[in-house]
Amino acid sequence: MSWLDSAASDTQIRHRSRLWLYVVTGLVLAFLLIPTLIVIPMSFSASQYLEFPPRTWSLRWYQAYFASADWMQATITSFKAGALTALVATPIGTAAAYGLHASRLRAAGLIHVILLTPIIVPVILVGIAVFYAYVQLKLVNSLIGIVLAHSMLAIPIVLLIVASALKSFDMNQELVARSLGASRPRAFFLVTMPQIRFSLITGAALSFLTSFDEVIVAMFVSGGSNSTLTRNMFNALRDQIDPTIAAISTLMIVVTSLILGLPQVFGKSAAGSEQSH
């Protein structure tokens, strides 16, 4: 093959001598991708042992999921918690990012570190600490408890995303708006926000997913009629391998992909239409 003897780099290495490297890379990429993706076809298997490829296709695990009141309730709780977390963490995190960016005080550096602690401290410690606090505050097994804890975990993510967007944003634009008579909030909402919209939507999407995928804190502080989907999945996994979870996993992959697609759809097209004005 001629491709094998063509140059792979500027230093006279041919693709042929790198063939083993390509094979290794392919194998590692397969290792990363296949386990997650293979669950999707397996969830349509009729067998208890989830064959691949399925000998007989069926929707029985999806039926089992949609017929179960427990799974349905947990799914609703997870969606509520995720949406509320995005609603709480995005504005709070954005306000913090903006404040820290605009104030340029030395104290801002310290506050930045404090706000990053939720992703630094091991999650198990956050879990038992929040649990301990909720026992005193009587917030265990409540939706508001889950939302507050998950918002706290999502704040660093929103902060990092919005802060990096502001770093590349020219703040003089706000100055111009204000010199033309706009108040600071008006300047932010009319000038800055539309331009960092992509980051804001990304922050909201990742806040939703932080809550939607979170297991450990939910394990401690959610329960009863407010237990989350991940908590129920985790408990089911510890007992036995329930094929229903393959169906749920497939649906979760779909939800994750849709949520991650949101910024691409809304953030970018909005920015594009602004340019065409």
Binding site: L29, A96, P122, I241
Partner: protein, 305 residues
């Protein structure tokens, strides 16, 4: 008689400079106030409760201040085993990630950007898939009647189902799968930043491809390698879900033990003490990493220039 006294402060040309300066300072503090809700949430939900646990770890069961929970950690061999297991599993995961992540990052850094970006999607996809979903996927693949065992027996590689999961091996596979992107991302970006002209110069001066890789590319990729490995190792120390599910109760890392202390024994003191040790370990390593890496990027920057 002088009617007006024009202020002639040496520092200010503008009449109300002092007031303006105070206005400006006030505004900056008000802006900082925008961070207050976030700070409040983090302090109330995390810093105070963690502080509480810190205090609890020094309180004995009878309510007196003591080091009993920490002393127990040193005296009971089971704690030693938990810490040993945590370190061994974290080290092994980091080593496996290095072994398979370096060739991957290297190849990606050599490919044309468009192809590399496509491959990066493959690296990022599992990154954003729920951890629980991925752990479940491995459980399905590795179980006794799972895909790997079925295929292995059909191909005649082994005749009896092999125990692949609910042990240390299964835990390592699952953790490697989760941690690999954390190694590959910093490594890839540090490899992309390496100046290709240096390799051309080495080849020009007669170095073989192996030689120029070993004495030029490898040393220049070390900062990224170190950053990635440290992140992987630190994150591994706090793992809970993967050892709990894929370890099948046979693998007890520090986090699993903390959860057991709370869920089974309601022993807040013991759990808090373990949590404090885990936190101190994590923070120390992070601090060391930040010092080490800043040093390295300075050295690395010196080399490339």
């Amino acid at each position: 008689m002088p009617v007006t006294a024009i202020p002639t402060e040496p520092t200010s040309q503008i009449p109300n400079a002092v007031e303006l300066k105070w206005d400006h300072r006030l505004e900056r503090w008000l802006l900082l106030g925008l961070a207050a809700p976030a700070v409040l949430l983090v302090v109330v939900m995390m810093i105070i409760p963690v502080g509480w646990l810190f205090w609890l770890s020094f309180v004995a069961d009878d309510g007196t201040v003591s080091l009993v929970h920490y002393r127990r950690m040193l005296e009971q061999p089971s704690y030693g085993r938990t810490f040993a297991a945590t370190f061994q599993i974290s080290l092994a995961t980091t080593a496996i990630c290095l072994l398979i992540g370096y060739p991957l990052a290297y190849t990606l850094s050599q490919l044309p950007r468009r192809v590399a970006n496509l491959c990066m999607i493959a690296v990022m996809l599992p990154f954003w898939t729920s951890l629980l979903v991925r752990t479940y996927a491995w459980l399905v693949l590795l179980q006794r009647r799972g895909l790997i065992n079925t295929w292995g027996m059909e191909l005649g590689l082994w005749s009896e189902p092999v125990t692949l999961v609910h042990n240390v091996g299964g835990t390592l596979i699952g953790m490697t799968h989760i941690m690999l992107p954390f190694l590959v991302l910093p490594l890839y970006s540090s490899m992309r930043a390496i100046d290709r002209d240096l390799l051309k110069a080495a080849a020009n001066l007669g170095a073989s491809p192996t030689r120029s890789f070993l004495s030029i590319f490898l040393p220049l990729s070390l900062p990224g390698l170190l950053a990635g490995s440290l992140i992987v190792f630190i994150l591994c120390l706090g793992f809970y879900v993967t050892p709990a599910v894929l370890g099948g109760g046979k693998v007890t890392m520090v986090s699993n033990r903390i959860a057991n202390d709370i869920e089974l024994f309601f022993n807040w003191g013991a759990a808090s003490a373990l949590g404090v040790v885990l936190l101190v370990l994590t923070l120390t390593l992070l601090y060391a990493a930040s010092r080490l890496l800043r040093l390295d990027t300075i050295i690395g920057g010196g080399h490339t220039r």
